[in-house]
Symmetry: C2
Subunit: 145 residues, 2 copies
Protein backbone atom coordinates (compact mmCIF):
# COMPACT_ATOMS: atom_id res chain seq x y z
CA UNK A 1 0.00 0.00 0.00
CA UNK A 2 1.33 3.41 -1.02
CA UNK A 3 2.02 6.00 1.65
CA UNK A 4 -0.42 8.88 1.47
CA UNK A 5 1.36 12.10 0.52
CA UNK A 6 2.19 14.33 3.47
CA UNK A 7 0.77 17.79 3.87
CA UNK A 8 2.54 20.26 1.56
CA UNK A 9 4.92 22.70 3.17
CA UNK A 10 2.70 25.60 2.14
CA UNK A 11 -0.01 24.44 4.50
CA UNK A 12 2.11 24.56 7.62
CA UNK A 13 1.58 27.49 9.94
CA UNK A 14 5.33 27.80 10.46
CA UNK A 15 5.85 28.15 6.72
CA UNK A 16 3.05 30.66 6.21
CA UNK A 17 4.45 32.80 9.01
CA UNK A 18 7.94 32.66 7.55
CA UNK A 19 6.67 33.56 4.11
CA UNK A 20 4.52 36.47 5.28
CA UNK A 21 7.25 37.72 7.55
CA UNK A 22 9.80 37.62 4.77
CA UNK A 23 7.59 39.45 2.33
CA UNK A 24 6.55 42.22 4.70
CA UNK A 25 10.10 42.66 5.89
CA UNK A 26 11.37 42.83 2.37
CA UNK A 27 8.92 45.60 1.55
CA UNK A 28 9.82 47.52 4.68
CA UNK A 29 13.51 47.12 3.97
CA UNK A 30 13.00 48.49 0.49
CA UNK A 31 11.45 51.63 1.98
CA UNK A 32 14.24 51.98 4.51
CA UNK A 33 16.83 51.53 1.78
CA UNK A 34 17.30 55.22 1.17
CA UNK A 35 18.13 55.74 4.84
CA UNK A 36 20.48 52.78 4.72
CA UNK A 37 19.06 51.29 7.90
CA UNK A 38 18.06 47.66 8.48
CA UNK A 39 14.69 46.93 10.05
CA UNK A 40 16.32 45.82 13.30
CA UNK A 41 17.84 49.25 13.81
CA UNK A 42 14.48 50.86 13.36
CA UNK A 43 13.11 48.61 16.10
CA UNK A 44 15.96 49.59 18.38
CA UNK A 45 15.51 53.27 17.70
CA UNK A 46 11.79 52.99 18.21
CA UNK A 47 12.13 51.32 21.58
CA UNK A 48 14.64 53.97 22.63
CA UNK A 49 12.41 56.79 21.46
CA UNK A 50 10.71 56.99 24.85
CA UNK A 51 13.84 58.77 26.07
CA UNK A 52 14.25 56.39 29.00
CA UNK A 53 17.38 54.29 29.19
CA UNK A 54 16.98 50.65 28.23
CA UNK A 55 19.40 47.92 29.21
CA UNK A 56 20.90 45.63 26.61
CA UNK A 57 18.96 42.65 27.90
CA UNK A 58 15.69 44.52 27.77
CA UNK A 59 16.48 45.75 24.27
CA UNK A 60 17.50 42.33 23.02
CA UNK A 61 14.18 40.93 24.15
CA UNK A 62 12.20 43.81 22.67
CA UNK A 63 13.86 43.81 19.28
CA UNK A 64 14.03 40.03 18.85
CA UNK A 65 17.82 39.82 18.74
CA UNK A 66 20.08 37.72 20.92
CA UNK A 67 22.65 39.40 23.10
CA UNK A 68 25.85 39.13 21.08
CA UNK A 69 24.09 40.12 17.88
CA UNK A 70 22.61 43.15 19.58
CA UNK A 71 25.95 44.16 21.10
CA UNK A 72 27.54 44.22 17.67
CA UNK A 73 24.65 46.03 16.04
CA UNK A 74 24.77 48.63 18.79
CA UNK A 75 28.51 49.01 18.17
CA UNK A 76 27.69 49.97 14.60
CA UNK A 77 24.97 52.35 15.68
CA UNK A 78 27.31 54.00 18.15
CA UNK A 79 29.81 54.48 15.32
CA UNK A 80 27.04 56.12 13.35
CA UNK A 81 26.22 58.34 16.34
CA UNK A 82 22.65 57.11 16.47
CA UNK A 83 22.74 55.84 20.05
CA UNK A 84 25.05 55.94 23.05
CA UNK A 85 25.84 53.84 26.10
CA UNK A 86 25.64 54.92 29.73
CA UNK A 87 26.57 52.65 32.58
CA UNK A 88 23.66 52.17 34.95
CA UNK A 89 24.57 53.77 38.28
CA UNK A 90 22.16 51.58 40.22
CA UNK A 91 23.40 48.30 38.80
CA UNK A 92 26.82 48.60 37.29
CA UNK A 93 26.51 45.35 35.40
CA UNK A 94 24.00 47.06 33.19
CA UNK A 95 24.47 49.39 30.29
CA UNK A 96 21.67 51.78 29.49
CA UNK A 97 21.09 52.72 25.88
CA UNK A 98 19.86 56.10 24.73
CA UNK A 99 19.01 57.57 21.38
CA UNK A 100 21.02 60.58 20.24
CA UNK A 101 19.45 63.62 18.59
CA UNK A 102 20.58 62.27 15.27
CA UNK A 103 18.97 58.94 16.19
CA UNK A 104 15.73 60.64 17.13
CA UNK A 105 15.57 62.54 13.88
CA UNK A 106 16.18 59.33 11.95
CA UNK A 107 13.52 57.54 13.99
CA UNK A 108 10.90 60.02 12.88
CA UNK A 109 11.78 59.59 9.23
CA UNK A 110 11.68 55.80 9.61
CA UNK A 111 8.38 55.95 11.47
CA UNK A 112 6.72 57.73 8.65
CA UNK A 113 8.11 55.26 6.11
CA UNK A 114 6.76 52.42 8.25
CA UNK A 115 3.38 54.06 8.63
CA UNK A 116 3.12 54.55 4.92
CA UNK A 117 3.84 50.88 4.43
CA UNK A 118 1.13 49.92 6.90
CA UNK A 119 -1.27 52.18 5.08
CA UNK A 120 -0.31 50.58 1.80
CA UNK A 121 -0.97 47.12 3.18
CA UNK A 122 -4.25 48.06 4.79
CA UNK A 123 -5.35 49.50 1.48
CA UNK A 124 -4.89 46.40 -0.62
CA UNK A 125 -5.58 43.94 2.14
CA UNK A 126 -8.45 45.65 3.90
CA UNK A 127 -8.73 47.23 7.33
CA UNK A 128 -10.76 44.43 8.77
CA UNK A 129 -8.43 41.71 7.60
CA UNK A 130 -5.45 43.65 8.91
CA UNK A 131 -7.03 44.14 12.31
CA UNK A 132 -8.10 40.50 12.50
CA UNK A 133 -4.66 39.32 11.55
CA UNK A 134 -3.00 41.49 14.16
CA UNK A 135 -5.36 40.28 16.82
CA UNK A 136 -4.76 36.64 15.96
CA UNK A 137 -1.02 37.12 15.91
CA UNK A 138 -1.05 38.80 19.31
CA UNK A 139 -3.06 35.98 20.71
CA UNK A 140 -0.80 33.35 19.18
CA UNK A 141 2.27 35.02 20.63
CA UNK A 142 0.66 35.19 24.03
CA UNK A 143 -0.29 31.52 23.94
CA UNK A 144 3.13 30.51 22.74
CA UNK A 145 4.83 31.97 25.81
Amino acid sequence: MARSPSKPITEHLAYLLAQANREINRQLDARFRKEGVPVEQWRILKVLSDGKGHSMGELAEAVLLNHPTLTKMIDRMVSDSLVYRVQDADDRRKVLMFSSDRGKALTQRLNSLALSQEAFIAESYGNKATADLKRLLESLIEKAN
Copy 2:
Protein backbone atom coordinates in the same frame (compact mmCIF):
# COMPACT_ATOMS: atom_id res chain seq x y z
CA MET B 1 3.24 71.66 21.67
CA ALA B 2 4.57 68.20 22.51
CA ARG B 3 4.78 65.60 19.79
CA SER B 4 2.26 62.82 20.34
CA PRO B 5 4.01 59.54 21.06
CA SER B 6 4.27 57.31 18.03
CA LYS B 7 2.67 53.91 17.83
CA PRO B 8 4.63 51.35 19.86
CA ILE B 9 6.61 48.80 17.93
CA THR B 10 4.44 46.01 19.27
CA GLU B 11 1.49 47.31 17.31
CA HIS B 12 3.14 47.11 13.92
CA LEU B 13 2.15 44.23 11.69
CA ALA B 14 5.76 43.71 10.65
CA TYR B 15 6.77 43.33 14.28
CA LEU B 16 3.95 40.96 15.18
CA LEU B 17 4.84 38.77 12.23
CA ALA B 18 8.50 38.73 13.18
CA GLN B 19 7.67 37.88 16.77
CA ALA B 20 5.24 35.09 15.91
CA ASN B 21 7.57 33.71 13.30
CA ARG B 22 10.47 33.67 15.69
CA GLU B 23 8.53 31.95 18.41
CA ILE B 24 7.04 29.24 16.22
CA ASN B 25 10.36 28.63 14.54
CA ARG B 26 12.10 28.39 17.86
CA GLN B 27 9.65 25.73 19.02
CA LEU B 28 10.01 23.80 15.81
CA ASP B 29 13.78 24.02 15.99
CA ALA B 30 13.69 22.65 19.51
CA ARG B 31 11.80 19.61 18.29
CA PHE B 32 14.18 19.12 15.39
CA ARG B 33 17.15 19.42 17.72
CA LYS B 34 17.52 15.72 18.29
CA GLU B 35 17.79 15.17 14.53
CA GLY B 36 20.28 18.01 14.32
CA VAL B 37 18.50 19.57 11.37
CA PRO B 38 17.60 23.24 10.90
CA VAL B 39 14.09 24.15 9.82
CA GLU B 40 15.30 25.17 6.36
CA GLN B 41 16.56 21.68 5.66
CA TRP B 42 13.20 20.24 6.59
CA ARG B 43 11.59 22.56 4.05
CA ILE B 44 14.04 21.45 1.40
CA LEU B 45 13.51 17.77 2.16
CA LYS B 46 9.77 18.24 2.18
CA VAL B 47 9.73 19.89 -1.21
CA LEU B 48 11.93 17.13 -2.58
CA SER B 49 9.75 14.43 -1.10
CA ASP B 50 7.58 14.32 -4.20
CA GLY B 51 10.42 12.39 -5.84
CA LYS B 52 10.53 14.74 -8.82
CA GLY B 53 13.69 16.67 -9.46
CA HIS B 54 13.60 20.34 -8.49
CA SER B 55 15.99 22.94 -9.84
CA MET B 56 17.94 25.14 -7.48
CA GLY B 57 15.99 28.23 -8.48
CA GLU B 58 12.69 26.52 -7.90
CA LEU B 59 13.89 25.25 -4.54
CA ALA B 60 15.26 28.60 -3.45
CA GLU B 61 11.88 30.16 -4.11
CA ALA B 62 9.99 27.40 -2.35
CA VAL B 63 12.09 27.32 0.77
CA LEU B 64 12.52 31.07 1.14
CA LEU B 65 16.29 31.11 0.73
CA ASN B 66 18.31 33.10 -1.75
CA HIS B 67 20.46 31.30 -4.28
CA PRO B 68 23.93 31.41 -2.73
CA THR B 69 22.59 30.49 0.70
CA LEU B 70 20.74 27.55 -0.78
CA THR B 71 23.78 26.37 -2.73
CA LYS B 72 25.83 26.24 0.45
CA MET B 73 23.12 24.56 2.46
CA ILE B 74 22.73 21.96 -0.27
CA ASP B 75 26.50 21.42 -0.17
CA ARG B 76 26.15 20.49 3.50
CA MET B 77 23.19 18.24 2.83
CA VAL B 78 25.07 16.48 0.07
CA SER B 79 27.93 15.89 2.53
CA ASP B 80 25.37 14.38 4.87
CA SER B 81 24.04 12.20 2.04
CA LEU B 82 20.55 13.59 2.40
CA VAL B 83 20.21 14.86 -1.17
CA TYR B 84 22.05 14.66 -4.44
CA ARG B 85 22.51 16.73 -7.59
CA VAL B 86 21.76 15.66 -11.15
CA GLN B 87 22.40 17.87 -14.13
CA ASP B 88 19.22 18.50 -16.08
CA ALA B 89 19.58 16.86 -19.48
CA ASP B 90 17.03 19.15 -21.08
CA ASP B 91 18.63 22.37 -19.89
CA ARG B 92 22.21 21.89 -18.89
CA ARG B 93 22.35 25.15 -16.98
CA LYS B 94 20.05 23.59 -14.43
CA VAL B 95 20.79 21.22 -11.60
CA LEU B 96 18.01 18.98 -10.40
CA MET B 97 17.91 18.07 -6.74
CA PHE B 98 16.69 14.76 -5.40
CA SER B 99 16.26 13.32 -1.94
CA SER B 100 18.27 10.21 -1.08
CA ASP B 101 16.80 7.26 0.79
CA ARG B 102 18.44 8.54 3.93
CA GLY B 103 16.89 11.95 3.22
CA LYS B 104 13.47 10.41 2.74
CA ALA B 105 13.66 8.52 6.01
CA LEU B 106 14.69 11.71 7.81
CA THR B 107 11.86 13.61 6.15
CA GLN B 108 9.31 11.27 7.64
CA ARG B 109 10.71 11.66 11.12
CA LEU B 110 10.75 15.43 10.74
CA ASN B 111 7.22 15.46 9.36
CA SER B 112 5.88 13.76 12.40
CA LEU B 113 7.73 16.15 14.70
CA ALA B 114 6.24 19.05 12.75
CA LEU B 115 2.77 17.59 12.87
CA SER B 116 3.00 17.11 16.57
CA GLN B 117 3.97 20.75 16.94
CA GLU B 118 1.00 21.84 14.86
CA ALA B 119 -1.25 19.70 17.02
CA PHE B 120 0.24 21.25 20.12
CA ILE B 121 -0.44 24.75 18.83
CA ALA B 122 -3.95 23.96 17.70
CA GLU B 123 -4.66 22.59 21.14
CA SER B 124 -3.76 25.67 23.14
CA TYR B 125 -4.70 28.16 20.48
CA GLY B 126 -7.87 26.59 19.13
CA ASN B 127 -8.70 25.02 15.80
CA LYS B 128 -10.78 27.93 14.62
CA ALA B 129 -8.16 30.52 15.46
CA THR B 130 -5.49 28.45 13.75
CA ALA B 131 -7.58 28.04 10.61
CA ASP B 132 -8.48 31.74 10.57
CA LEU B 133 -4.88 32.74 11.01
CA LYS B 134 -3.71 30.50 8.20
CA ARG B 135 -6.37 31.83 5.89
CA LEU B 136 -5.46 35.44 6.65
CA LEU B 137 -1.77 34.77 6.17
CA GLU B 138 -2.37 33.10 2.82
CA SER B 139 -4.43 36.02 1.70
CA LEU B 140 -1.82 38.53 2.89
CA ILE B 141 0.91 36.71 1.03
CA GLU B 142 -1.18 36.63 -2.11
CA LYS B 143 -1.89 40.35 -1.90
CA ALA B 144 1.71 41.16 -1.20
CA ASN B 145 2.87 39.63 -4.45
